[in-house]
């Protein structure tokens, strides 16, 4: 539990977009998928997912439809819109640039050795 990392502010939306990019999912499913693709390394409070979901729907990046889940329960399924997949691509690029830059900055420099 303790070696899970607190997620950076603003990155939850990106994770949600990434999780549903592989196919429609309901809220609990998104949570499980994030756990799966991040190898359970990220700590997300379950309820905190929903404000993000509603926000993304309002922005038109996700669309939601009621359906029936694998457990035979009624659930709301989310999937990417065209705008959503565009946004995911842009955000992924910019995240990679940022992560690369920070990793480069933090890696041992020649003069330190």
């Amino acid at each position: 539990m303790n070696d899970q990392a607190q997620i950076l502010p603003g990155t939850l939306d990106l994770l949600i977009l990434r999780a549903v990019s592989l196919g429609p999912l309901h809220g609990y499913g998104i949570l499980l998928r994030i756990g799966q693709i991040s190898a359970n390394a990220l700590l997300i409070e379950q309820g905190a997912l929903y404000p993000g979901l509603f926000r993304l729907v309002r922005k038109g990046l996700l669309q939601a439809n009621w359906g029936t889940s694998e457990n035979n329960r009624k659930a709301k399924f989310y999937e990417l819109t065209a705008a959503g997949s565009n946004r995911l691509r842009e955000e992924t690029d910019s995240w990679n640039r940022l992560a690369g830059a920070i990793a480069a900055a933090l890696s041992p420099q020649p003069e330190e050795i």
Binding site: Q46, G52, N71
Partner: protein, 889 residues
């Protein structure tokens, strides 16, 4: 259409919100079910699985709230919630709500009132079309606003900056409509006056330029709506009627619209006559004299696009032409423009300074009120520490709690603002119709307009924000876990804080005001019974001006003698005198006096300035002014007899060396007349200020210094205060018997004295109002501090009680500090107040603080104030139940 659309939109969002809430609820339930399914699969029982799923999910309410916010904030809904909750909170503490609303109502009301007066007198232009471009003309560096008639004509015809220049002058006259002749105030106006102002008649027509054909060519009258309403009972047939004005026939040609009250604030005329007829009315010959400046004001609308500087330059170039052409009459002929309404810069600066001072004072009162309400509010917030902590713990955001507190503050301030505004609107309407001087029609256009409402609203919102902001820090620092666990902290500072100092200052100011207003009231009460050098009780004053009934100078003395004799014949009248201006009445005469040895009679050689009275022989009797030595006048002291005078003690002592040796001595006037003193009378009060120092005064026989406008002083032998009507009717019938066309103003001398006491009354009243404001501030201040102190120390008080403390000890512990501050502030204020009343003594006659009643009154007032302010907190402190308290906290 727009409103309908908006409504539809609102309705649909409301509907969607319901739907959204249901969906959200269902989705969260579904999430927890899925989570529980997983847990169940790992071998947990269903009930336990659902419980753990709910725990893992976290604060459901918190997230729902967050979802609402993420959906773009439901502002109106939150606001409505806040308002509902605030109203509930306020209803729970009616005492606090009442004090807060009342305080704000007084403070905001005072501000609105002062602002409305300022708005009416300075900010708002005169009530004529396009009032913003209306300007009056003033001359030279001394800014004389009066002009001569020929100069006015030149300015009017030669300028290129104005859409016409109009002129007006103020004249008094006697109006005879066939019934009661009355005294009236007129504007004598230039023919283009109404055209230039751009107003249209309510009835008939206005005076026009085409009416003017030289002196006395236009005997026409335009009535003001007010005079038409009060004296002609709205009779539309009045147009075309002929009336007598100073015994000359004039035709009424029209009525002005109701909203037009002349072009001067403070004073409105009864009607308008053409200026070309002014010579006829006042018997002067001023129209052609360029050196005599008597035209009261010249004004006009600037042409579109012309600036005031351009217009002034234009007028000044005409001025330099006038200077060159008429070097004797027209010096200093540069011109500037000024807003009309307050007679140029004549009383505007003093009024402006006075109002600015008042505004500052009112603002300070409002700030003080906000500071006090802030501490009251902080006390409430402290009381509600547990509630706040609980709400925070349940997932409310700090923003939301602050927003609710602010809503509460705003509600209070809006209620206070509305109440204050309502009060000030009532007062303003009263003030607009206020006629304190029966002989002088007033015009105070201070009715509130949109500006006033806006300022009141802004002040209300600002003050709500100010005092609502006081507990912000407290809320932000609240640590929910600590408070829920341990209760609110019981720390209450022992050291002197800014708040203490502020409170002491407020109490001290309050005590100063209470002291001064009590001193003023006592002074006023005493001055009603003091000796003025005459006795105004049981005396009627009849003010007449014989020129208004067409008497020429030669006929005036004989007519006045006949009037005196006629009054003497009324049963119950003991003596009748005549005086040009009664003492303590506006319009007294002053003359420089020279010793008999002075030969060069220039002003700097005068020994003194003496107040002058022309009196008939019986005046001293009628006024009951004591003759100390020598003889009174007789009717033989006429034009042909040697000039004589009676002087008062002050005159005799100061100018003639001694009181005893004064009789028989001579003094000189400016024109060289030698006057012999034949008698000494007692000192008295002469100018319209009872607080004046003793002044030298001289009385001369009315036959040696004749006056056509004079006042009959009629003393009756019984109490006329209760039934003056009888005597008034008798006087009127006697006057009608002598001359049916003579206007006369009749009132008792006691009523007349109200004018003399006006300044003192006003000072007393304003001090009273300020005292009430100060008391209100102190009460809220002490109340706030006491309430805060009690609520912060409730636990301590409970422990004290549990350990056996007496009621007295509890009270002392709870309220010792505010009471100490009260005592300190009161004593300081009382001392300062006693010093301050020395200043007051200049305005209010016989104001002295060395009066046991005043001192006792102040102490009593401050005690009552303290009792009142600490009553609720004291009850609360005494009502502490240690068992409940200790269990709870």
């Amino acid at each position: 259409m727009k409103i309908l659309d908006w409504l539809r939109f609102r309705m649909s969002t409301l509907f969607q919100r319901e739907q959204l809430r249901d969906e959200m609820e269902e989705e969260l339930r579904s999430h927890i079910q899925h989570c529980a399914d997983d847990l169940e699969r790992s071998g947990v029982g269903r009930a336990e699985a659902e419980r753990r799923a709910r725990i893992e999910f976290g604060g459901r309410e918190k997230y729902k709230e967050a979802i609402h916010v993420s959906m773009g904030g439901n502002f109106t809904e939150t606001c409505a919630q806040d308002i509902r909750f605030s109203l509930r909170q306020l209803r729970k503490s009616p005492g606090f709500t009442f004090v807060a609303v009342l305080t704000l109502a007084l403070a905001i009301g005072a501000n609105a009132l002062v602002f409305a007066v300022m708005n009416g007198l300075f900010l708002r232009p005169l009530n004529v079309p396009d009032g913003h471009s209306l300007y009056a003309i003033q001359r030279g560096n001394d800014k004389y606003i009066v002009q001569s008639y020929p100069d006015y004509q030149d300015l009017r015809d030669r300028n290129r900056s104005f859409d016409g220049l109009a002129a007006y002058n103020i004249v008094q006259a006697g109006l005879d409509t066939g019934k009661d002749p009355s005294h009236v105030w007129l504007y004598a106006v230039s023919g283009n006056y109404f055209d230039v102002l751009g107003i249209h008649p309510y009835l008939g027509r206005f005076i026009q330029t085409s009416d003017e054909h030289g002196p006395s060519s236009a005997p026409y009258i335009v009535l003001t709506y007010r005079y038409w309403h009060s004296h002609f009972q709205d009779d539309r047939g009045v147009v075309g009627r002929t009336v007598q004005l100073n015994k000359h026939p004039y035709t009424i040609i029209g009525v002005a619209p109701p909203e037009f009250l002349g072009t001067l604030l403070f004073f409105s005329p009864d009607f308008f006559v053409p200026m070309v007829n002014e010579d006829q009315l006042d018997g002067s010959a001023n129209m052609k004299d360029r050196g005599r400046r008597w035209v009261f004001e010249v004004l006009g609308h600037l042409k579109p696009g012309v600036t005031t500087a351009q217009a002034a330059a234009d007028l000044s170039s005409i001025g330099s032409y006038l200077e060159k052409t008429y070097p004797k009459e027209d010096d200093q002929s540069s011109f500037s423009l000024v807003r009309p309404g307050l007679h140029g810069d004549f009383f505007a600066p003093a009024m402006r300074a006075f109002l600015a001072g008042l505004m500052l004072l009112a603002g300070t009162i409002l700030l003080g009120a906000c500071a006090n309400l802030g501490s009251l509010f902080a006390a409430r917030a402290a009381d509600r520490g547990r509630e706040v902590a609980l709400r925070l713990a349940l997932g409310s955001s700090r923003m939301r709690i602050l927003r609710q507190l602010m809503t509460e503050a705003t509600l209070i301030s809006l209620a206070g603002g509305a109440a204050g505004l309502a009060g000030s609107v009532v007062l303003l309407h009263r003030l607009s119709g206020w006629q304190p001087f029966p002989q002088f029609p007033m015009n105070m256009p201070v009715t509130p307009d949109a500006n006033v409402y806006l300022v009141a609203l802004l002040l209300a919102l600002a003050s709500g924000f100010l005092f609502g902001a006081v507990p912000v820090k407290q809320v932000l620092r609240t640590n929910p876990y600590e408070i829920v666990k341990a209760g609110s902290s019981a720390r209450f500072g022992r050291r002197l804080t800014v708040r203490d100092v502020l409170l002491v200052v407020q109490i001290a100011i309050c005590a100063v005001l209470v002291t001064s207003s009590m001193v003023a009231v006592r002074g006023l009460m005493r001055s009603a019974h003091s000796n003025f050098g005459f006795d105004p009780h049981n005396v009627m004053l009849v003010d007449t001006d014989l020129t208004m009934a067409g008497y020429s100078e030669d006929h005036v003395p004989a007519m006045q003698r006949r009037m005196i004799d006629a009054m003497q014949a009324i049963p119950g009248v003991t003596s009748v005198g005549l005086v040009d201006t009664p003492p303590l009445h506006m319009g007294w005469g002053i003359a420089p006096v020279f010793t008999d040895q002075t030969t060069d009679l220039k002003p700097s050689n005068a020994v003194a300035e003496a107040i002058t009275y022309s009196i008939s022989p019986e005046y001293l009797h009628a006024a009951e002014t004591a003759l100390l030595a020598g003889r009174a006048f007789t009717w033989q002291d006429d034009k042909n007899a040697p000039k004589v005078a009676l002087v008062n003690r002050e005159f005799a002592g100061k100018i003639l060396g001694s009181v005893t040796g004064a009789i028989g001595k001579h003094y000189k006037l400016k024109d060289g007349t030698r006057i012999e003193v034949v008698g000494i009378v007692e000192d008295g009060k002469y100018t319209a200020n009872l607080a004046e120092d003793p002044q030298p005064a001289m009385f001369t026989p009315i036959l040696q210094s004749p006056r056509s406008d004079a006042v009959l002083v009629i003393r009756a032998n019984r109490e006329i205060g209760r039934d003056p009507e009888h005597l008034v009717a008798a006087i009127r019938s006697k006057l009608r018997g002598l001359d049916a066309g003579l206007p006369a103003f009749i009132q008792t001398w006691d009523e007349e004295m109200n004018g003399a006491l006006f300044a003192s009354r006003m000072a007393t009243m304003s001090l009273g109002v300020l005292g009430a404001m100060g008391a209100m501030l102190s009460i809220t201040g002490i109340f706030g501090m006491a309430a805060y102190s009690v609520s912060k120390r409730l636990r301590e008080l409970g422990i004290r009680m549990a350990l056996g403390a007496q009621r007295k000890d509890v009270l002392l512990a709870a309220l010792g500090r505010p009471l100490k501050l009260l005592a300190f502030g009161s004593v300081t204020g009382l001392l300062v107040g006693i010093l301050a009343t020395r200043v007051l003594a200049y305005i209010v006659y016989q104001a002295t603080p060395r009066d046991p009643l005043v001192l006792g009154g102040v102490v009593l007032a401050m005690l009552l104030l303290g009792l009142f302010a600490t009553w609720i907190p004291a009850q609360r402190a005494l009502g502490v139940n240690p068992m409940i308290l200790l269990r709870e906290e």
